[in-house]
């Protein structure tokens, strides 16, 4: 089901957690809410669930206004960060809970409930563990039970709060791939919250980058990485360098020297130059370039990470070079960004 968040504002006491946030979630898509802690991503997720109520604004499920509905009436599936499994219930009782508590008129027969729960347990690859208690499962297994339990109620939308946050790196990776498969098979509209950019970029159809209670950018992982539209997104996603430059006559200047980059159409004046470490061309001579002295040179797998002191700037710059370029500390390197963006404060 399609979910529309319209001009949602949320304050906790005096503290604004979300400011005028709007977001359209398409039916059947897997969307990530990505941001540092305190960015409001979990608050947004809980607002969609109905676990918090907005100070202002509306949330639509399809065409229906869901804002006035309680969490019970919204029929959503929520997977909690620490799973929140019912520890006195077996796996199958946990999964069947949402169906068992329905009012008699809408409750499937006991046999149907059982069948549905068993199918879901099979889907999350826990067949044979129906009679176990949460305490007898590993972290990854608990996570799957939590997911099966959330899916059992045929939710309008599946909401996951840091779904892999409590797992170790290896299990995380496996579950990530597996969640994508499950999503593709079941087609639930799914929103998940994460602070891990790799997770968001690898898993989601679209990524919502959030900061300080606002949405910074919404886009596919490629759009987010390749064309960040704000300094925050540039800085938060992947590695990036910034330099204070000046635009003069369609050229970029650092201090009193042109760096050999033309910026046609940019207004005159100071700006911040953003570029990624690997988006550079190495130059032999310097007739309009960025140049600096190598301070640290590290070999990381197939590339060489080099930190430079750029003359005239106190900023440290990191660039990536082919591993076979010898960049000993103390040597001078000249380069020019080939893909960049300017932001003005």
């Amino acid at each position: 089901m399609e979910v529309r968040v319209q001009d949602i504002r949320k304050e906790f006491g005096r503290f604004p957690a979300l400011e005028k946030v709007s977001l359209d979630i398409r039916s059947g898509e897997l969307i990530a809410l990505l941001g540092p802690s305190g960015s409001g991503k979990t608050t947004l997720l809980r607002l969609i669930a109905g676990l918090e109520s907005p100070t202002d604004g509306t949330i639509f499920f399809g065409d229906a206004d869901a804002s006035k509905k309680t969490v019970q009436e919204r029929n959503i599936g929520f997977v909690f960060q620490h799973y929140a499994l019912f520890r006195h219930m077996t796996v199958i009782d946990n999964v069947a809970f949402g169906l068992k508590v329905r009012p008699a008129a809408r409750r499937p027969s006991a046999a149907d409930i059982r069948k549905r729960a068993e199918d879901l347990i099979e889907l999350v690859q826990l067949g044979g563990m129906e009679k176990r208690y949460p305490a007898q499962l590993s972290g990854g297994q608990r996570q799957r039970v939590a997911l099966a339990r959330a899916m059992a109620v045929e939710p309008n939308v599946l909401l996951l709060d840091e779904p892999f946050g409590a797992l170790d790196a290896q299990v995380r990776k496996e579950l990530r791939r597996w969640l994508r498969e499950i999503h593709d098979r079941t087609g639930h509209t799914t929103v998940f919250v994460t602070h891990d950019q790799d997770e968001a970029l690898e898993l989601a159809d679209r990524v919502v980058v959030m900061s300080k209670g606002r949405i910074e950018q919404v886009g596919t992982p490629d759009e987010i990485y390749d064309t960040p539209n704000s300094p925050f997104v540039f800085g938060f996603i992947g590695q990036s360098n910034t330099l204070p430059v000046r635009v003069e006559n369609g050229q970029l200047w650092l201090e009193d020297r042109s760096i050999g980059v033309s910026a046609p159409g940019e207004p005159q004046g100071p700006a911040e130059l953003y570029f990624r470490p690997h988006d550079i061309d190495l130059l032999d001579g310097c007739g309009g370039c960025l140049a600096g002295v190598v301070t640290i040179s590290r070999r990381v797998a197939g590339t060489r990470h080099v930190e430079l002191d750029i003359a005239g700037s106190t900023r440290r710059i990191e660039i990536e070079l082919p591993a076979d370029v010898a960049a000993a500390p103390g040597t001078r390197i000249a380069f020019r960004p080939n893909r960049w963006k300017l932001f003005r404060s």
Partner: protein, 285 residues
């Protein structure tokens, strides 16, 4: 060679911390002197009675009635304490209201108030001319000097056991669990009755057992309010005292032995339930 040797039996794991011998020595000597020798004296004296004498004394009608009254009233009072104790713990943990801290402190009153004081206070309250008794008498309800009075006194002494066992477990309940139940469509009543309370069961059971055990042995708060009518409202500990005053040591010993055995059996059962709960659900108290 050494690797194939079976691991040597070790009384204690090595530790750099000193004082083990001294601490354990003091503990064991004190334990043996104060607890074990006196208790084994009781065991020895009851076994010296011989089985048939013991059986005759233990199955004496007055003794049986006293035991029935002690265990019966303690059971009823512990049940009442489960209801009120869980209610109180819930209110203290979940709600913020004026006077909450005072109530929280008051819950320990039965631990701190000498039982004799509790006994005369409750009796005066529930006597036919007391503050509460005078209200109940016109309704035909008699509390003081009946088994109901015993139950009331035992509710008083047992209350903190249930509250103080359940309260910390309730404080630890993860909010997420309640939210999870709500997102799955459970009404508040369903969340409380099907998710929260069953999760508290091991703690409630422990509290019940503690209140029950205390109630069975309780003496001071009960004897004033009970009326102490043989066969009707005479509790087992009182019968022990009466037999002692008659210098009928064998009878006193026999009753005490029966009470101890029953109490230990009960503690054993409770302990195994807890161990089972811990194994199964990964928690227990």
């Amino acid at each position: 060679m050494t690797a194939s040797l079976p691991q040597r039996w070790q009384f204690r794991q090595p530790s750099v911390i000193p004082g083990f011998g001294l601490a354990l020595g003091v503990t064991l000597s004190w334990l043996i002197l104060i607890i074990l020798i006196p208790l084994s004296g009781l065991a020895w004296r009851s076994s010296a009675l011989g089985w048939s004498t013991f059986w005759t004394l233990a199955t004496d009608q007055r003794t049986l009635n006293a035991l029935k009254i002690s265990f019966g009233t303690a059971f009823v009072a512990a049940l009442a304490n489960v209801v009120f104790g869980v209610l109180l713990a819930w209110v203290l943990v979940r709600y913020r209201f004026f006077g909450r801290r005072v109530i929280d402190a008051m819950v320990d009153l039965p631990f701190a108030l000498p039982t004799a004081v509790a006994g005369i206070a409750l009796t005066t309250l529930y006597a036919p001319n007391g503050w509460i008794g005078s209200l109940l008498t016109p309704l035909g309800i008699k509390v003081a000097f009946t088994p109901v009075g015993i139950v009331f006194a035992l509710i008083f002494v047992g209350l903190p056991f249930v509250v103080r066992t359940v309260q910390p477990i309730m404080e630890e309940i993860d909010r997420e669990v309640e939210e999870a139940a709500a997102t799955l469509g459970a009404s508040r009543f369903q969340t409380v009755s099907r998710v929260l309370l069953p999760g508290l069961a091991p703690a409630v059971l422990t509290g019940f057992a503690l209140a029950f055990a205390r109630g069975v042995g309780e003496y001071g708060s009960v004897i004033f309010i009970a009326g102490n009518l043989p066969y009707v409202s005479e509790i087992a500990p009182l019968l022990i005292v009466i037999r002692l005053e008659e210098f009928n040591y064998p009878a006193a010993t026999a009753i005490a032995a029966v009470m101890l055995i029953l109490s230990f059996v009960m503690l054993l059962v409770i302990n195994s339930i807890q161990a089972w709960s811990r194994r199964r659900y990964g928690y227990g108290t």
